[in-house]
Every structure is written in C-alpha cells, then in structure tokens.
Amino acid sequence: MTSQSILLFGYGSHGRFIARGLHEDGFKIKIVESKQAYYDQAREDGYIDVEYVDVTSDNILQLLNPQNFSQLVCVMEDEHLNVFLTLSLRSLFKESYILSISDSMHTTKKLKMAGADKVIDLYEVSANKIYNILRRPVATKILEGIVMERGGVVFREILVHENSFLQDVMTDDLDLAPYGILLIGMIDEEMGHTFVFITTGINHRIDAGDTLVCMGPQNKLNMFEKMLQKEKDL
C-alpha cells in the first residue's frame, strides 16, 4: 500500500486512538494541536511531527501546507472549534479531502455545510450498530471482526493489471473458490470509479485497471496477490 500522509488536527480522545491506528498501518502523520495538555500528551506518546499552534488563524493554517497531505482529519475535542477549523480549511484549500468527526446530529449538519468531505457521526454509527445487533447479530459480529481485528478474514483491493488472466473475464464466470477467497465487488473504471457489488445481478467485464474487492483470509489473499504478481512478471 502506498504510504499516505495525513494531517491530524486534534489529539484528544479520538485523535489519540486514530493516530495510533494510522501509525500502525504505516501512515505518515503530522499532528496539530492547540491545547497544551494534548500537545504534551502527543509528545509523550512519541510522535515527533507535532505542532502546537493556534488553529483559528488562517496564516498559521497556510504555513502547515495542508495541500501536501492526502487527507485532513479534524477531530478536535471542542466541537465548535472543529466546525470552525473545517470551515477555515475548506475556504483556504478547495482541493483537500477533509474528514471530520461529529458529536451530535446538529454538528453533523454544520460540518457538512462547512464543507467536510466526510463526516463521521459518533451517534449515527453507534445507533446503526444497535440496530444491526438487533437485526443481524452474526453478520454484525463478523463484519466487526473484520474491521476491528484485522486478522483472519479481511477485505483486500486487488488491481487487475495488463494481460492478467482476469482480464476480459465476465464476473459471473469468475470463480475464485480454488483460491479460497470471495469476490465481493469491484471498482469499475469504465463506469466512473464506482464501487459495484458482485450480487447486484449485473454481469461486468473485467478490464485492466479495474480493482477487484475480495474477501478472504489474509494468507490466501497474499497468495492470490503473489500469484498475480508472478503472472505479471512472466
């Protein structure tokens, strides 16, 4: 996976967890904090690229060069500040991808108005989860396991390269069972980079450049990827 760089605003309860997760996954992160205690905490946790600045100032934000980062993540503890920050970032950097966290449904709306590309609503995801626990307990548990543990069964994106045996195969005919993995869906470049589930009943032709989304045990996926790689090298 290509190493992306993330600009993380806030090192509170959410920021801390996210920073650790991103670090584990091998992302380059820069942490920005405007509160002394959180800043110290970040330092203490061993992050080197930490800035202690006033995020309400446009000049300072510009100095951080957010355009060099692939994503801007706003998870400040103070939700008013978070909205303000999102708004400032959006107005300054039109191109950046901004992800924000929201603590209430009112804030979600405001963050979206402020121009966040993706808002994760604390309560919405939790409420969703309750609903899923009630309706589909097993499915929820399995999917959760996939997201949380990252061990065992996982999702993987696999790029179809030129001259692969996968090329020009119709999705209905493709059987990945011998490899011990399942094809969940694909990102079809012909259809404008949209994610299509395999079970929608539409038969797709796989072209070079498409991405297959597969699900399976980690080692099986690795083997499959290796096999494709070998085929490419041949």
Binding site: Q4, H14, F17, I18, G21, D25, F27, Q71, V73, L99, S104, M105, I120, D121, L122, Y123, V125, S126, A127, N128, K129, I130, Y131, N132, I133, L134, R135, R136, V138, A139, T140, I142, L143, G145, I146, V147, M148, G152, V153, V154, F155, E157, A177, G180, I181, L182, I184, G185, I187, F195, F197, I198, T199, T200, G201, T211, V213, M215, G216, P217
Partner: protein
C-alpha cells in the same frame, strides 16, 4: 388422625404434579400475562352478563326451564369452583404443615398439629373476608332457590366484574387512595344530615303531617343536602325553612368539595394510569425493546431510516425528556429503569425483552444492566459504555453487547482513512444504504435446507453470495461446495434485499 393428615401433607408437598397443577391454576387466575387468562376472563364475564340478563328477563316473563337450570346449576357451580380454587391457591396449607413438622423434627420437639392448622385456617379466613372474596361468595348464593330475596344477589355477580375489568379496578384504586378526604367528607355529611334531621323532627314532627318518624326527617335532610329535592317532604315552619336554607348551602359546598377531591385524585393518577396502559400494551407483544434514556443516542436510533422500529418503550427519569419523546411521536414514560419495580412490571416470563441502556452515565447504565439481569437472565442487555476503561465492569455485570460510541467512531475513522474501499463497502452494507446487504438465515430444525450441500443450494443462481456459516459459535468462511447445512446453522449471505427475501421465503418451512 394426626398421622393421616401429616402423611397426606407430606405426600402433597412431595408430589411434583400437585405443585405444577397448583402453579398453573394460580397463573391462570392471577397472572395477567398468562395467555390463557384472557380466555378464562372472557368466559367468566360471559357467565356474569348472561346471569344478569336472565334476572332482568324473568321479572316480566316466565323463564324456560333449561335457562333456569343453566342459571342455577351451571353458573353457580362455575362460580363455586372458582371460589374454591381461589381459596385453595391463596396459601399452601400442606407446605405449612410439612415445614412445621420438619422444624419440630429438627428441634426434637413434639409435633403439634392443631396450632398449625389453626394458623393455616386463619390465613384462609383472612382471604375469605377480603371484599373480593366476599363478593365471590355472595355471587354463589342465588343458586339457593327457596329464598327469593337471594335473587338480588345476582347483582353481586356484576361486582365480580371488578376483578375482570381493569378500568373499574383503577377507579376504585384511585378512590381508595383518597379515602382520608372522602371519609372526612362522609363523616361531615352524616353529621350535618343527622343534626338537621333531628332538628326538623323536633321542630315539625307535630306540625308537618308528612314527617311522622325520625327516618322521614333524616330522609328529607339527605334529599335536600344532595340538592336533589324531590319535594315530597318540605318544611312548613319558618324555622324549618331556615334549616333547609342552611343545609342547602352546606350541601353545595360539600358537593363541590367531593368533586374536587375526586378530580384531583384522578388528575394525579392520570399519567400513571396512562403509563400502565402503555406497559400493558407492550407486554402483549412477544418481543420488545426497552430503551432506557432518551438522549442523542436514542434519537439517532429512531432515525434509522431503513425500517420502522416496532414494539418498544422508552423509559427516562427526566419528565422533560419524556415530554420531548412524546413530541417526537414516540412511546415514552417517566420511569427510573434502575429500580427493580420498574423492570419487573414487564412481562419477563413470556416475552423476549431487550434492554438498551443508552443513558449518558456509565454508572447508571451498569446499574440498569445489573437490575435487568437480576430480574431475569433471559433479558438481553445492550449497554452503552462511554469510558473504555470500565468495559470489564459491564462484562462482569452481564451485558450481552457493549456499545462504545467513541470506539466505534474511532474505528470508523481509521478505516475510512486507511482502507477507503472497505469502509465504503462495510458502511454501505451495515447501514443498508447500498443495493447489497448482508443478511442472516437462521436454519431451524425443520428447515428444508438441512442436509443439503452448498453446491446443491446454488446460491449463485439466486444472485446471492454465501460468505460463511456460523456453526456452534465458530465462523466458517467460504465453506467448500461439499459442506452440508446442519440445523441451527446461521448462513451469512450477501445480496440484494429482494433476492434475500425471496430465497429465505422459498426455503422456509418443513421438509419437502
């Protein structure tokens, strides 16, 4: 004799069958959540109504013999049996004797039978003198034909309805609660009526031809004070009229006082009565949700667009929040879910209950979890945990599922950044926003899928993708085509909602 009674009691207390029968009878007669109680109640109400109709009919018409027999023998017999059963289930006589006997053995003391029997009979007698037991007994009397007067006792059968109709019961309960005020009023009324009656008797008994006895004058006083005023007896002297004026004025005061007492009693209890109704309603459903706390989380939960949530009740301590819930159109009552009485009101025995602890405070959530679990292990608890450090406490308290808003959101963000495609896929599947959904098929014992191999079931033809099977708590990912389905398997399938619905529909039901 003593030995005989003792062995009989020992036999009964050992007999499992006897206990079971007694429990069943008790449940049918007393537990409002028992499914058979409703039929039983309807039957009794039918008997009462027919009996009263017969009473009215026979005043002016001759009664056909079969109807008479039905009234005398059948109805009375059923009531007699009911009375006996109620008396029987009120206390456990045999158990009492056995307990006493064991105690005596333990202490190496002489076992005395009579004190025990006396106590037991005393308890039964205490039941017999409760108003409802007296009414039950009187309702049997009309069967005795030689005394014609007893026919009027049929009306006591109407009073039996008290037991079977909830609203009358509640009405009486409200009045009983105000008995101090009402009794004061009654004494005042008696005082005024008697005083005025005596006064008019003394003043007019020899002047007024209509007042012959003290009974006449008291009757007059009551008719006047109640503002009914038939006018059959009226005072003729000036003094008598003055007394009339006085008691009319005090009568108006008293009526308004009585009205206000009753009205205030009802308005005090009105919300409670309404809440009891809601609880009764919800107790009838086979499975329902109890949502504790109406905050952000609960609101969000209800805003799930995909499907309507049915059979739920919201409990919140804060009347303001409950009011808000009412405004938002949800069923809510002001109750403290951490109290034992609150949760035990629900039909724990016959329904599947899921408690959602969604209050903002961890301490309260833990308390509610413990409370629910202490009432019945069967209650499923999904608890919200704010502070991740106390997760183990919730697990210790017995919560079935834990919900950590912070953690869920954090994981979501992390996934959204690191694995955007997976995030999209999972988010879409979980929120049901996409065309593809993951659903479960629970294979029950008589499912037609059992013993079929996965190749035979051919999920692909139905445009479904089998992701895996959960069997005995373990998850088999992507099982081989030769794998056979067993009962109690849970199949995890992905596909469009219609394919999922269709598929589970054709495979539902027994063996072909």
């Amino acid at each position: 004799m003593k030995q005989l009674i003792l062995s009989w009691a020992l036999f009964l207390s050992k007999s499992k069958r006897y206990r079971e029968i007694k429990e069943t009878v008790r449940d049918i007669l007393k537990n409002p959540n028992n499914p058979y109680k409703k039929s039983f109640d309807i039957f009794i109400i039918f008997l009462i109504v027919t009996s009263v109709l017969i009473l009215i009919y026979e005043v002016k018409n001759p009664l056909p013999e079969w109807l008479d027999n039905y009234d005398i023998y059948f109805v009375s017999f059923v009531f007699l049996v009911e009375y006996m059963l109620r008396l029987w289930i009120h206390t456990d006589f045999s158990k009492r004797i056995v307990d006493e006997y064991h105690d005596a053995q333990f202490l190496h003391a002489e076992f005395e039978l009579w004190p025990v029997i006396k106590d037991g009979l005393k308890e039964k007698f205490h039941y017999m003198i409760t108003p409802s037991a007296i009414i039950d007994l009187l309702a049997i009397f009309p069967a005795y034909r030689p005394l014609r007067v007893l026919r009027i006792f049929v009306l006591f059968r109407v009073l039996k309805l008290l037991r079977y109709t909830k609203s009358i019961h509640q009405f009486v309960e409200v009045l009983v609660n105000k008995r101090f005020e009402l009794l004061t009023l009654l004494f005042l009324l008696i005082f005024i009526v008697v005083t005025a009656g005596i006064a008019i008797y003394v003043l007019e008994a020899h002047v007024n031809p209509k007042i012959e006895t003290l009974f006449d004058s008291i009757y007059w006083a009551l008719i006047t004070i109640s503002t009914v005023g038939y006018g059959d007896i009226s005072p003729v002297t000036d003094l008598g009229r003055t007394i009339s004026m006085l008691i009319i004025v005090s009568g108006i005061a008293m009526i308004s006082f009585a009205t206000s007492v009753i009205v205030s009693a009802f308005s005090e209890r009105l919300s409670e009565l309404k809440e009891n109704r809601i609880i009764e309603q919800i107790n009838k459903s086979r499975s329902f949700l109890i949502i504790c706390g109406y905050g952000q989380m609960a609101k969000m939960f209800f805003r799930q667009k995909n499907e309507r949530i049915e059979n739920y009740i919201i409990l919140d301590k804060d009347p303001k929040r409950v009011e808000q819930a009412h405004k938002d159109g949800y069923q809510a009552i002001v109750e403290d879910a951490s109290r034992f009485e609150t949760l035990s009101k629900f039909n724990v025995e016959h329904s599947n209950i899921t408690v959602l602890c969604l209050t903002g405070s961890d301490i309260e959530n833990i308390y509610i979890t413990l409370n629910a679990k202490s009432i019945s292990r069967k209650i499923r608890v999904i608890a919200r945990v704010n502070n991740m450090n106390i997760v183990s406490k919730f697990e210790y308290a017995g919560a079935d599922h834990l919900l950590m808003p912070n953690q869920v959101a954090n994981t979501m963000i992390r996934t959204a950044i690191t694995q955007p495609t997976m995030y999209k896929a999972i988010h879409a599947i979980l929120t049901g926003k996409s065309v593809a959904r993951i659903d479960e098929i629970h294979v029950h014992e008589r499912h037609s899928m059992i013993d079929k191999s996965i190749a035979e079931l051919d999920f692909k033809a139905s445009k479904l993708l089998l992701i895996g099977i959960e069997r005995n708590g373990e998850f088999l990912f992507n099982p081989l085509p030769t794998e056979r389905i067993q009962s109690y398997d849970i199949l995890l399938l992905m596909g469009r909602q219609i394919s999922l619905d269709y598929y589970s529909e054709i495979h539902e039901g027994g063996h072909r």
